[in-house]
């Protein structure tokens, strides 16, 4: 590879990204026109919904985006680990639910001042999520159950367990949720304007930096990468594959568990059915989209959060169907993956003659 080809490749990469956003926007606009709405209005309302209308930041509304981004980003961070290790941790949704359940148990059973109680709740959530992740891992390594199937089953189990607790032992009279937690058990917003939990925000930052550094800069990160490329070769090279796969699942579960605790301790203030709300699956989509380019994950996750929060406004102001946001996301993901596939193919085609050139004896090549 020559020196010039690096910026050239990067340029192609940016071109593909910009191009696919343009194509996705165009397709979305066509779809909006097809349902008799104006793309301009839709754009305006989403913009308004995320708190960015009229050139000034509407902090309470913008907080809504960040509050959705926080658990999504925690999940994405965890999924970066399993993705690197070549594991499809679909069970991340259930790991969130288990985190929420464990946090709820502490919130209901333990009496402590807030500074001790909240960390304890989150630690319990991390444990719950990690155990549930580990279980999917053990099913894979010991039981030969593929993590996708194990994950789907464990998601259902976690949901059913949660609903059982809500309608049974933890329920209140006729309610569809546990009774609200006491104030000291909750994560609180920073201010009445910036309605975001600073604790949660800092936690996301730390988790993301630590995970990215571990994946890029440590021997363990390298082992995971080897495992992700080919489990068999990694094993032959002496990488403890089973241990690493289990560890990756546990770490992802741990972060998903914390994400689940934020849903109960901040978003809702109690445990309710479907508390994970598909955030785990959305995380899988984000990581699928960004691949191992971890630094893109926060941006893409933010974009998804903004579209979803903004789309509430679409329903209220324009009476557009609520599934439009999902459709937009789907189009984006499809177009991106398609564009990546096409650009990879183009690269392969360009590299083929280059490889031929490389096979020419060095002396001649130097002259040419």
């Amino acid at each position: 590879m020559t020196r010039e080809s690096i910026p050239a490749r990067r340029l192609i990469g940016i071109g593909v990204a910009v191009g696919s956003i343009a194509v996705a926007l165009l397709l979305t606009a066509l779809l909006i026109v097809a349902v008799n709405a104006s793309p301009r209005d839709v754009f305006d309302k989403i913009w308004e919904g995320v708190g960015l209308a009229g050139g000034r930041l509407d902090m309470p509304r913008f907080s809504g985006v960040i509050n959705f981004w926080i658990p999504l980003m925690l999940v994405c961070t965890g999924l970066l680990v399993t993705f690197t290790a070549g594991l499809w941790n679909i069970g991340v949704e259930g790991q969130m639910v288990m985190g929420a359940i464990f946090a709820t148990w502490v919130a209901q059973e333990v009496s402590l001042p807030s500074v001790l109680l909240v960390p304890l709740e989150m630690a319990a959530a991390a444990l719950g999520g990690a155990l549930w992740g580990l279980l999917a891992g053990v099913l894979k390594t010991r039981g030969g159950v593929h993590e996708i199937f194990g994950g789907v089953a464990l998601n259902n189990l976690a949901n059913i367990f949660g609903i059982y607790l809500i309608s049974g032992p933890w329920g209140n009279q006729g309610g569809q949720a546990t009774p609200p937690f006491r104030e000291e058990a909750l994560l609180l917003p920073a201010s009445s304007e910036f309605r975001v939990s600073l604790v949660a925000l800092v936690m996301v930052g730390v988790a993301f930096v630590v995970v990215v550094m571990a994946l890029r800069g440590t021997h363990w990160g390298l082992e995971l990468k080897a495992l992700g490329k080919s489990a068999r070769s990694a094993l032959l090279l002496g990488v403890p594959t089973q241990r690493n796969a289990l560890l990756a699942m546990a770490i992802c579960g741990l972060l998903a568990g914390i994400a689940g605790s934020i849903r109960v301790l901040f978003t809702y203030g109690n445990l309710r059915p479907l508390v994970s709300g598909g955030i785990g699956f959305l995380g899988v989509l984000v990581v699928l989209l960004t691949g191992t380019r971890a630094l893109w994950a926060p941006i893409v996750a933010f974009f998804f959060a903004a579209i979803m929060v903004g789309s509430t406004r679409l329903n209220i102001a324009l009476q557009l169907d609520q599934s439009l946001a999902g459709v937009v996301q789907g189009i984006l993901v499809l177009v991106f993956i398609l564009a990546n596939g096409i650009s990879a193919r183009l690269r392969a085609r360009r590299q083929a003659p280059a490889a031929e050139a490389a096979s020419i004896p060095p002396k001649e090549a130097a002259h040419g």
Partner: protein
């Protein structure tokens, strides 16, 4: 009428319409928000609220509805009730918010305290009855117990196998009392019109786990409806927000089976499969909502809790009745006549709306809720001839003796 006067008439009407339109656009506009748990076109619970909102717009000049559909953790994980309320109040100028699900009860309580200048109505809740609600939060619920008794009777008149399935949502006091009301109606008519022993009537309740199907979380209502029919039931009665029961019955009837269904919530629900539909008990929120919107506009609204009784003169008069019943095409003329007789009997025992002020008064009736009645585990609920107090019906703790199915999730 001459052609010329016709033209003038048309012009006049057009002017009126434009005038009222611009009037609505002017300073007199009153915005009310409606928050739905399901889609606005679910042919069930949510659609009944949505069409009532449209009815309000029609009846009260200047009233404008803004709505948000499908607010639940599966469909909108990114949105909380508070965010929606803030949106409706600050960006749309809503002065009244209707939160139309039991799902929203807790959150409405918290949000109402934060917006003391906005009036809130939580449908089906009880916070204004228990005294937990701040003064800007009221509750309303149609006394569907009557409609469910009629539905149960219709099912008993039709069944040939003596087995009725009830497709329940999740288990709470509301769903228990509604399922039990169906059972009371079925038992009464099985005995009194069919001349059968009510002990031989099989009445099975299956709870799917939520108000509507959420794949991977709830039981699949389509599958459960099929299961009822496979296991010998020939009438399935829906207690959920959506129309699977009647759809499945329609499919089976098309294959030559003698089966029927009774949907729920929405007056037009039979349209999904009219040939198997025995009728539908439905909510008609329009009159209540008109009254609520008007009183908030006038500044005369007062906090209250209301459990509104049917307009017995005509159960299909949608300008009056909060709870209605329409016969389905599958009801034979003879069955329809018997059902009319049954309805007339209920009407006689009807005692009007139940409110926070009168709920503990003696003699208030919900039709067939008269002893001897036992709860499912045999605990006596009411002695011979004794009327079950409405409060005990509202907070019903178990299903009734004789019903098959879970009384609680444990």
């Amino acid at each position: 009428m001459t052609r010329r006067s016709l033209v003038i008439l048309v012009l006049l009407v057009a002017m009126l319409v434009t005038a009222s339109g611009s009037f609505a656009q002017g300073g007199e506009e009153f915005v009310f928000g409606m928050i739905l748990v399901g889609p606005h076109n679910d042919h069930g619970w949510s659609e009944a609220h949505y069409t009532a909102g449209q009815y309000v717009e029609e009846m009260i000049p200047g009233a404008r509805m803004v709505y948000l559909e499908s607010l639940n953790a599966a469909d909108r994980p990114e949105t909380t009730l508070e965010q929606v309320v803030e949106d409706m109040v600050s960006l749309e100028g809503a002065k009244l918010i209707l939160t139309t699900s039991d799902e929203f009860e807790e959150d409405t309580l918290a949000v109402a305290a934060k917006y003391p200048d906005v009036t809130f109505i939580n449908v089906s809740g009880d916070d204004a009855l228990t005294g937990d609600a701040p003064s800007n939060l009221g509750n309303v619920m149609g006394a569907m117990e009557w409609g469910k008794e009629i539905a149960g009777c219709a099912a008993a008149l039709a069944t040939e196998t003596g087995s009725i399935g009830y497709l329940g949502p999740l288990i709470n006091a509301e769903t228990r009392r509604l399922a039990s009301s169906v059972y009371l109606g079925a038992r009464y008519c099985y005995e009194n019109y069919r001349g059968m022993d009510p002990a031989d009537l099989t009445f099975t309740v299956t709870w799917i786990g939520f108000w509507f199907n959420i794949p991977g979380v709830t039981l699949d209502p389509t599958e459960q409806s099929n299961l009822f029919f496979d296991q010998g039931a020939d009438v399935v009665i829906s207690g959920i927000d959506t129309t699977e029961a009647v759809v499945v019955a329609g499919e089976r009837a098309a294959r030559g089976q003698a089966v029927w269904a009774i949907p729920y919530d929405y007056a037009g629900a039979c349209a999904e499969a009219p040939e198997v539909c025995l009728g539908v008990p439905y909510f008609n929120w329009g009159p209540s909502y008109v009254q609520i919107v008007q009183s908030v506009m006038d500044g005369t609204w007062e906090q209250g809790w209301a459990w509104t009784a049917p307009y017995w003169e005509d159960l299909t008069d949608n300008s009056k009745t909060p709870v209605g019943w329409v016969n389905g095409e599958a009801l034979s003329p003879e069955q329809a006549a018997q059902l009319d007789e049954f309805i007339a009997m209920l009407a006689e025992s009807g005692t009007g709306d139940i409110t926070a002020d009168n709920i503990d008064d003696e003699g208030l009736s919900l039709g067939l809720w008269v002893g001897p009645l036992n709860l499912q585990d045999g605990t006596p609920l009411a002695a011979e001839g004794e009327i079950v107090p409405p409060r005990s019906v509202w907070y019903l703790e178990q299903l009734l003796e004789g019903m098959t199915g879970d009384s609680s999730a444990q």
